[in-house]
Symmetry: C2
Amino acid sequence: MSAQHVFDAAVALTPAGPDTWTGATHPAWNNMVGPFGGITAATALQGVMRHAARLGTPVALTVNYAAALAPGAFTLSTVPVRTNRSTQHWTMTLTQPGADGVPATVFTATAVTAARRATWGASDVPMPEVVPPHTLERVPIAGVEWVERYDMRPIEGAPPAAWDGRESEGSLSRLWVRDAEGRAPDFAALAAFSDVFFPRIWLRRARRVPAGTVSMTVYFHAGEAELARSAGWLLAQARGQAFHDGFADQTAQLWNEAGELLVTSHQIVYYKE
Amino acid sequence: MSAQHVFDAAVALTPAGPDTWTGATHPAWNNMVGPFGGITAATALQGVMRHAARLGTPVALTVNYAAALAPGAFTLSTVPVRTNRSTQHWTMTLTQPGADGVPATVFTATAVTAARRATWGASDVPMPEVVPPHTLERVPIAGVEWVERYDMRPIEGAPPAAWDGRESEGSLSRLWVRDAEGRAPDFAALAAFSDVFFPRIWLRRARRVPAGTVSMTVYFHAGEAELARSAGWLLAQARGQAFHDGFADQTAQLWNEAGELLVTSHQIVYYKE
């Protein structure tokens, strides 16, 4: 009997009624406060992927992180609110019992899935030319649990060697990344990969100020065929655009080794000081 | 008595119960099918802005366009699903009666508002150096109603002079834009300005293939102080990243004349062929 991969264990859901699932946090994905936001986003999408009424594959996913997930059980609702001929619109909510026992909203999310058709296509953001992953060092284990779930090979914009407050000029990071055990990505995994970047404000300021994702959006350009060609390394790139009065944004891209742009993603991050 | 500006008329809402408003489409904002998506996004945000329980100013807005708005009345719900110390999470839904009289979902949306605090700040996307608006021609009236609501001065990436199918290399557009009557922007107007770009696929292909926004996200970097400095022209920039199997994304930025980055925005657009 083969053991379940820790990603599949984390996004496992049990049907609990129409459009409703139960699940539980998994300690292998712990971040400093609550789980890694990427695994939370993956869980939101997984509820859509497993829904019997789902039409097509994901095109867009937005997760608004309203509170840190507490360790333990949660309830996830995934509702297909409108189904058109080739697109379908979803709303998702994750709740946990609050201090008063009443379910409290931990995140709200929306998704669009679609039956895709072959069309004219192009990429206006070609994969940057970078050195291959085997020539690079794996990012050192930093004592944060979820980081160990990935094999990350920074190319540029690695975490600062010293948190000495020496501001850098830019906020661009590029790295090769794959699941630490080589699990080939599905759509839920792509959602998680979209959040593997440490906060841009840390790179910019070389200071680990308190920071956390408030909202993340993932656009899926990959369909099933592109996924099937993406079992190896992914090239991940992120850059901040604005850092202002406590909130900073980030744009990100994920390519497979063949240079196909699988995902473009955006997030806005709360930060202090 | 001064007449109400056509933007304010379009986003006008009447309280209709807890977290509920009624409104109506306004023909001045008509697009080819249904209203301009920007005015729809502005309406979603306006329901949050007018809500008595609102905390702070907008940080993030996502609108998923599930169907074209039919001309006439609609119902908008704007629910503060979680209020933290300094952030607040919203879900919004707009419905119109379906063919069977039952309310049908036209869009779902989410927003985050926040009480912002002064912090360290920076922009990693400086405003490009461009010629001033008065040296440029206003975009010709194209027979699309909403386009006339704006004074748009293309700098580069203007609509192709001929729809002759000659593919271009890139999908970058830059333009100066302001309300045609000089209305100074509020947050709802910034949401609308985020959607003033014609589809990137049209620019790339010089063909007006059927296309429409499926989901748009707006990150607000401007607070009240920056808004107050943004009464003049806005520099608007958009670029596509991926065009694949019927869906294309777009990243966009809005700066005020002083070069402050007010908004970063993203959308994914359905297209045919």
